[in-house]
Structure formats: C-alpha cells, structure tokens
C-alpha cells in the first residue's frame, strides 16, 4: 500500500477532527433560550461534535503510527487515476448546470457520455448515440409514462 495511502488516511482522520470543530463552531451559533426545556437544541450537536473530535484524534494517532488495521481495498488497483475521476466529475457538474437550462435530455446525455468515456468506452460516436437514445427514451418514459416533472429544455418545450 505504501506511504501515499497512509498519508491519505491521516488526512481523512484529520478531516474528521476538522468536521467536529466546524460542528462545534456551528453549534455556538444556535441560540439557546433558557425555556422550560432543559435540554435545548444545542446539547445533542455538542455531543456529536465532541465525539467526532475524539474519534478523529484516535484515528489520526492510529494512522500516523501505522497501527490501524490494514485496508482491504477490494478489486481496485492501488493507484487513483485522476483523469477518469475528473471526467465523471465533469459529467455530474455539467448535468447540474445544464438540467434546468438545456433540459433533461441534453444534461443526461452529457453525463452519460462523460461517464462512459471515463470508464473506457472507445467508440465515441457509438457512445454518443447510446447517450442520446437512452436520455430521450428515459425522458419520455418518465415524463409521459410516469408523469414526473422533468425539465424539457428549449428543444422539447411544448411537446
């Protein structure tokens, strides 16, 4: 697994501590009125914030010392390839930007195309054709068939 993995684990554990601290800061912002209720809306968040910091600290220590139980990373390889990660991300971000502007069909076809490319689809014309065909059939199946309210976009407006 090597050091890169260990360093990542320390970072994640530190992130858990940071989440606890952020939660504590947020809890300070909850106004507590001294009403008849003795346990106000801030008590439970305090408990969770504190637990996160403690567990995070334990995990940082374990990870830094390398005493944590080994990771069984499953069938995947040890290295993380950033390009496909970026492609899937791009697809999802374009989807949320496009869905209400260009409509469901275009947004989904873009997402499908980016994801399939990230996973190694070779023939890009075939992939694009499948992306468009799937998005159009899903759109009509769900909007006419199941009466779901999907954004049509300028192209399909009024159909």
């Amino acid at each position: 697994m090597g050091n890169r993995f260990l360093r990542g684990e320390v970072l994640i554990a530190a992130g858990i501590v940071a989440l606890g601290v952020a939660l504590a800061v947020g809890t300070l912002a909850i106004p507590v009125s001294g009403g008849y209720e003795r346990i106000g809306p801030a008590a439970y968040p305090w408990a969770i914030a504190l637990s996160l910091v403690i567990i995070g600290a334990i995990l940082v220590r374990e990870a830094a010392r390398g005493t944590a139980p080994a990771i069984s990373a499953g069938p995947g390889s040890d290295r993380t390839a950033l390009r496909p990660f970026g492609f899937v991300s791009l697809g999802l971000i374009l989807d949320l930007l496009l869905i209400e502007r260009a409509g469901f069909v275009i947004a989904s076809a873009t997402l499908f195309f980016c994801t399939a490319r990230a996973l190694g689809a070779r023939h890009w014309i075939v992939t694009a054709a499948i992306a468009v065909a799937l998005s159009i059939s899903v759109y009509f199946a769900f909007s006419s068939g199941l009466n779901l309210d999907l954004p049509a976009g300028p192209w399909l407006e009024g159909r």
């Binding site: 990542g8 994640i12 554990a13 939660l23 947020g26 909850i30 106004p31 009403g35 209720e37 003795r38 346990i39 106000g40 008590a43 439970y44 968040p45 969770i48 914030a49 637990s51 996160l52 567990i55 995990l59 944590a68 139980p69 990771i71 069984s72 990373a73 499953g74 069938p75 995947g76 290295r79 390839a81 950033l82 496909p84 990660f85 492609f87 899937v88 991300s89 999802l92 971000i93 989807d95 949320l96 869905i99 469901f104 947004a107 989904s108 997402l111 499908f112 994801t115 990230a118 996973l119 190694g120 689809a121 992939t127 499948i130 998005s135 899903v138 769900f142 009466n147 779901l148 999907l150």
Partner: protein
C-alpha cells in the same frame, strides 16, 4: 391464532392481481440489480421512491420488499459466475461458488444457492410472522428512554460489526449523524447548521445521501481505480443438483437459517456476520473439510441461506420498532416516512393491511424468486455482459434522475455530487458506508427520544440508568464498545505470559 388470521387477511391483500404485479416487478428488478455490479437494493429503492409517490403505500412496500429479497437471490448469481459479489452479504458465496463454477459445477452451485435462499427465506418469513407481533407488543411498553437506549445500542453494534475497525465505523456513523443535524430543529423551530441556505432548511435528504454514497461514490471509484476485469465463467453441465448435492446441502440450509435470522433480527448490522459464521461452521462440520477452498457445495448452501434468513430478520426490528439495521432497511424507513408512516408497534395496529399484506407478499415473493432464478438463470447471466462504461453511464443517469425528481431541485444535485466524493473516499479507504446511512436517519430520531426522555425526567440524566430496559440496553452498548479491546488485551496478556513461560 390472531396472527394466523392476520396473515390470511394479508394474503387476501397480497394475492390481488394488482399487488401480485408489483411483487413480480419488485423481485424481477431486485434480481437484476442483485446481479449487476455497482447497484444494489438500497440504491434501487432510493431511485424508485420518487416514481412511487403516486402509488398506494401497500403496493409500494410490496415492491420494495421484493427488491430487497430479489437482491439477495441475484447477488449469489454474480458471486458464483463472476467472482464479484453484487452484495456485501454474498462475499462468502463467491469463495466456494466461483471455484465450483470454474470446475464446471456452476449449475449445482446456482441451484443450491437459489433453493437454499428459498428454504431459508420462507422459514425466516415464518419466524418473522410469529415473532413480529410479539416484539411489537414488547415495543408498546418502551418509553422514550428505552428507545434511546435501543438506538444507541444499534449505533454501537452497527459501527462495531461493519468495516475494518470500530473507530472507522464510529467515524462513519458520526458523519451521518452530523449530516442529520442540518435543518430545522422540530422541537424549537431553531435553524441548525443551515449556513443560511434555504435549500438546507428541510435538512439533507437521506435518499440523496444514499444515492450519492452508493451510485456516485461507486462510479467514481470504479472509474479511477480500475481493477482487473473479472471474467464470467461460462455455464457448463447440468443445472440440476445430484442426489449427493441435495444430501450435502439441506443441513447447511437449515443451519444457515438458524444463524441468519437472529443476527438479522438483532441490531447487529444485517447479513454479513452470519454468512461468515455459517461458512466457518460448515467448514468445521463438513465430511471432507479439505474440499473447502476447492469448491465445496456446503460453503455455498450455508452462507446463501444465512443471508436470506438475515434479510427477513432485519424486517423484524424495522417493522416493529422502527429500527433499521442495514442500509436497505434505512432506506425503507425513509420510504415509510415519505408516506407519513412511522414503523413501530403502532404500525401493526394502525396499518394492519399494509404490514400483513407486506408479510404475506414475502412468501409469494420467495416462490416467484425461485421460479425466476432457477429456470431463467441464463437470462440474468446475460445482464453481466453489459459493457461497464454503459452500465455506469446508465447508473449515473438514473441517479441524477432520481435525485432531481425528489424535490425538483438543483441543490439536491450539488449535494449528490459532494456526498459522492465522500463516498468515493470511503470506498477508497475501506470505511464502511452503512453506519453513515443509519446515523443519518436514526440520529434525529435518537435526539428526539433523548430530549423526550429528559423532559419526562425534568432534565435528570439518571432516567437512563433507573429505567431497567434502558439501563440494560446501555450496558450492552457499552460492552460492545469496550468489550472487544479489553478482551483482546487480556487475551494477548495471556499469550505473552504463555510465551514467557515457554522461553524461560
């Protein structure tokens, strides 16, 4: 006999043509998603929730339960033929099952898995039928402090049982609980952690988180950490089990059921542990233990029965106490809430039609699944040949569709992506996902019960130790947390002493 009457009434509901259709749809979908990698019952039920809004709750839950049971059947097919378990509860099946398939015994492996699943599923459903009303009666006597204790117990067991260590399990759980805090506090109307964003006032939707963790996280993982592509073992030889296969299978089926059901019914994290135990027991009891590791049929029959029995067991705390103990159960609880229903003891009184219709449909679903999985196994195998890029492209298309249609909000898609990145990291670093899902849905309920208990006791925390049921539950929860490390320390101390004696 009241139970039998209720069950018969349930059958009269489940056997209508309308509900049979939804059960068939559920088990078919369930088998398909069980076979396919990257998509499981928790994700499928989440994706279908927006579609089922217009449906009558009884029909919707009959379908959801079909998906849940079907996923267990389908998972074994993928494990045996592809060596990539479709479900975490099928990991053990892959061990012996895939070896059997490589030795040309795919048929008997698939058959013992399907028939074992049927036997175990049916027996466990019988246990569910008679146990559930008793637990529901018990639940009626539970006060807020007891419920809080029960939830704390399931928090600790779920964290301890799933994943590689208790600390990582707790981290995952707390992450979910932290997400659950966002939104308006129901008791005081106070905004919490909304960052001033109106989209966060209603809180973070469990369904969006489940879809993000399972669909987006998984796709990011598969895309960026490609492993060796697994190859499908072609089906050869007879599908039928020989007389000898039957003789070697029936006892593991029954033992698997006996292990699986109680583990599922206890708040102990669902189907994984009993499959591991069943495998270990069958290995020890086998007439030829050396066959294990070369494709022993007992190693398929036992664990498969155990995971199906556990699936039925999980429904006991879910229906009677409103307590989810697996990711799929958590999603089903979210589904109940979408319909304005609260599972728990009162569900049996107020929604008898739904509960008993659902339970009756489980018997029917098992029969359907046996019929779907044995003769039609070739059809499901063909699903395995869908090229990965298109499969995951499709998964993400449906993931965004399901998320968007939940509230018609782009903000949910932003949450989906962010949670997906977290899901990727969890997958990458082997951090269990299910505790986060359970923490997210159960966390706010636990807070309500805690505050209710404390307002009964006028703020005295002593209520959690003076109420006998609550005190017991807290004691068990504490034992789960501190027991294993202490035991390990004592044990290693003994080993060290033994060693020092050996080398004077």
């Amino acid at each position: 006999m009241a139970t039998l009457d209720a069950l018969l009434h349930g059958f009269s509901i489940a056997l209508t043509l309308h509900n049979l259709w939804w059960a068939l749809l559920g088990v078919t979908l369930g088998t398909a998603v069980g076979v396919l990698p990257g998509i499981g019952p928790a994700l499928t039920v989440s994706l279908l929730l927006p579609v089922t809004f217009g449906l009558e709750p009884t029909s919707a839950f009959i379908m959801f339960a079909g998906i849940y049971y079907g996923g267990m059947y389908g998972g074994s097919t993928a494990s045996i033929l592809l060596n990539t378990p479709g479900e975490s509860a099928s990991i053990i099946t892959a061990l012996e099952g895939n070896l059997m398939a490589r030795n040309g015994r795919a048929g008997p492996a698939l058959a013992t898995a399907a028939i074992g699943s049927f036997v175990a599923g049916t027996l466990a459903t019988v246990l569910l039928t008679f146990l559930a009303p008793l637990v529901a009666d018990l639940g009626l006597r539970f006060g807020p402090a007891d419920y809080f204790g029960l939830m704390v117990l399931s928090f600790t067991t779920v964290s301890a049982v799933l994943g590689r260590s208790l600390a990582w399990g707790l981290a995952s759980l707390l992450f979910g609980m932290a997400l659950g805090l966002v939104g308006i506090d129901v008791q005081t109307g106070q905004e919490r952690f909304t960052l001033g964003l109106p989209a966060l006032l209603d809180g973070i939707d469990v369904i969006v988180v489940v879809i993000g963790l399972f669909a987006v996280g998984e796709t990011l993982y598969v895309a960026s950490c490609p492993g060796d592509p697994a190859s499908v073992v072609p089906m050869r030889g007879s599908l039928w089990m020989s007389r000898r296969d039957w003789a070697r299978s029936w006892k593991p089926w029954l033992r698997g059921t006996a292990l699986g059901f109680p583990f599922g019914a206890m708040p102990a994290g669902g189907g994984e542990i009993p499959t591991f135990l069943s495998y270990a027991i069958e290995k020890r009891l086998a007439a030829k233990p050396d066959e294990f590791g070369k494709g022993a049929i007992e190693g398929v029959a036992g664990p498969e029965a155990a995971n199906n029995a556990a699936a039925a067991g999980v429904l006991v705390p879910l229906l009677t106490l409103g307590l989810p103990t697996s990711a799929t159960a958590a999603v089903m609880l979210a589904a109940f809430q979408q319909y304005g229903l609260q599972p728990g003891p009162l569900l049996f009184e107020n929604s008898g039609d739904l509960v008993w219709g659902l339970i009756a449909s489980l018997y029917i679903g098992n029969v359907m699944l046996l019929a779907l999985n044995l003769p039609l196994v070739g059809l499901w195998v063909r699903l395995l040949s869908i090229p990965r890029p298109y499969l995951y492209g499709g998964i993400l298309t449906f993931a965004t569709l399901g998320t968007y249609t939940l509230n018609n909000s782009v903000a949910d898609l932003v949450t989906l992506y962010l949670v997906g990145v977290v899901g990727f990291l969890m997958r990458r670093f082997d951090i269990p996902v299910a505790p986060a899902v359970i923490g997210l849905i159960l966390g706010p309920m636990a807070e309500q019960q805690m505050r209710r208990a404390l307002s009964i006791s006028e703020g005295h925390f002593s209520i959690f130790v003076t109420e006998p049921i609550a005190a017991t539950l807290f004691a068990v929860a504490a034992l789960v947390l501190v027991g294993p490390p202490v035991w390990r320390r004592l044990h290693s101390g003994q080993v060290a002493r033994a060693k020092s004696r050996q080398t004077p």
